[in-house]
């Protein structure tokens, strides 16, 4: 692992043209990732393949967080995502850096009397290895979120062994709940796999397999979803940049599903009827196992016309708990 200097630690997340803004700020304390997930943009961007931790200049971070917290806003609530530019718990060192960030943020949140969520997003089970985890208090709430995907997709498109199995990710979520943290689930990216054939009927058949896999996954999480400390559930279908799409096509990757279109934000996604069908089926299933969860359900990286087609009200992450 290497370290580098960083010019800015906190940035307002740029979702892309037309994409619904969930109101996140990104804490950029690290970049690159050696988990090697085939669908991840990091694998195809010009960043070194080895994980990089930026030198955390405490004063500079404190200055940036102070500027953010002192912004004139009606609601003094912030949602900071520390798992966007790298897996939050990629290594224990990553977590130690985050621990410092939480401490500084706590001090400033107290000073400015703001409420702040800090999301730690991971595909690992490293939470079990961490000795001291920050506790939630009136100013800071840690939201431990796990990216969940059916085990067949983990084995096909993530490096099984480097990332945790689905079962272990669910156990890690339960462990986080036992520590008093808020937890969240990200079904992201939802990948159309396996593809059993390319005719209209076969696509519908593949979709039923996909939906059954996700229903089964959600059913395994029903205790977590019904917990009072459950923060949010986000659904998001696969997105590929133009560059990724080209590379994956040449590699004959099964991520290159034929029915994908270039969307207004410049990313390839499954066609609109496919996305809407997947989301609405999953939303209906979620309502059946946890009716109150609808208020904590989001579409991540989607356009407002897709939210509307799914009968879902647009929400901000900071207002969910």
């Amino acid at each position: 692992m290497t370290t580098q200097k960083k010019t800015s630690y906190i940035v307002k997340y740029n979702y892309g043209r037309g994409v619904v803004d969930l109101g996140e700020y990104v804490i950029s304390f690290a970049t690159s990732c050696d988990l090697g997930c085939e669908y991840c943009y990091l694998k195809y961007s010009k960043v070194p393949k080895k994980p990089i931790l930026y030198d955390l200049l405490r004063e500079k971070f404190a200055e940036e967080i102070e500027i953010l917290f002192s912004l004139p806003m009606e609601e003094k609530i912030f949602y900071l995502n520390a798992g966007e530019t790298a897996d939050s718990l990629l290594t224990i060192t990553h977590f130690e850096e985050l621990h410092k960030i939480v401490e500084i943020t706590y001090g400033k949140a107290k000073k400015y009397n703001v409420r702040c969520f800090i999301e730690l997003r991971t595909k690992t089970e490293n939470i079990f290895k961490i000795k001291k985890i920050p506790t939630n208090n009136e100013f800071i709430k840690i939201v431990y979120t796990a990216t969940l995907t059916p085990q067949n997709i983990i084995e096909k498109f993530e490096k099984a062994g480097r990332v945790a199995s689905l079962q272990r990710r669910i156990e890690a979520l339960k462990y986080a709940l036992s520590l008093g943290l808020l937890v969240g689930i990200r079904l992201e990216p939802i990948i159309f796999y396996p593809v059993t054939g390319l005719s209209y009927k076969e696509i519908l058949n593949s979709m039923q397999i996909l939906l059954n896999n996700y229903r089964s996954l959600l059913f395994s999480c029903r205790d977590i979803l019904n917990s009072k400390n459950f923060h949010s559930l986000a659904l998001s279908s696969l997105r590929l940049t133009k560059k990724q799409y080209k590379i994956l096509k040449n590699k004959r990757s099964e991520l290159c599903f034929p029915e994908m279109f270039l969307c207004p934000d410049g990313k390839y996604r499954y066609s609109r009827p496919i996305r809407v069908k997947i989301y609405t089926e999953l939303i209906n299933y979620i309502k059946s196992i946890s009716p109150q969860l609808i208020s904590k359900l989001l579409l991540s990286f989607e356009f407002d016309y897709i939210w509307r087609a799914c009968n879902l009200e647009v929400k901000k992450l900071k207002n969910l708990s």
């Binding site: 099964e254 207004p264 066609s271 009827p273």
Partner: protein
């Protein structure tokens, strides 16, 4: 190699005419479909031969062939795209647009075309 042979046969045929971007689309489609269905070239070749022998009019054979390629590439959306085209030719054919901004009438019909399978 089979893919190149097929492309050569289609692109050099005097029985239909494809523009540069249409050729690129056909090339990309065959490449992607081949990932999931290794026998796709045989199917395309069979259909291609059937189409080019069905008419002497290049415009007709080109349209039939492209329709066939689109239906293979977008099995769910292609019928919807055609329906939408009939309603308004200027609507974005990738179906990625806010229908409430674009259409003032027939909204319910539009919504069911573009959102439902």
């Amino acid at each position: 190699m089979r893919e190149i042979g097929l492309l050569h046969e289609i692109f050099s045929s005097a029985r239909l005419h494809l523009t540069f971007s249409q050729k690129e689309f056909v090339k990309e489609t065959i490449k992607i479909l081949n990932i999931f269905c290794p026998k796709i070239e045989e199917l395309i070749l069979k259909k291609f031969n059937k189409i080019v022998s069905s008419s002497n009019d290049k415009n007709i054979t080109t349209k039939l062939f492209l329709d066939f390629i689109y239906s293979l590439r977008y099995p769910i959306s292609w019928k919807k795209i055609k329906e939408l085209k009939k309603m308004d030719k200027s609507a974005p054919l990738d179906l990625e647009f806010d229908e409430e901004v674009f259409f003032k009438t027939d909204l319910q019909k539009i919504k069911s075309i573009i959102n439902e399978i």
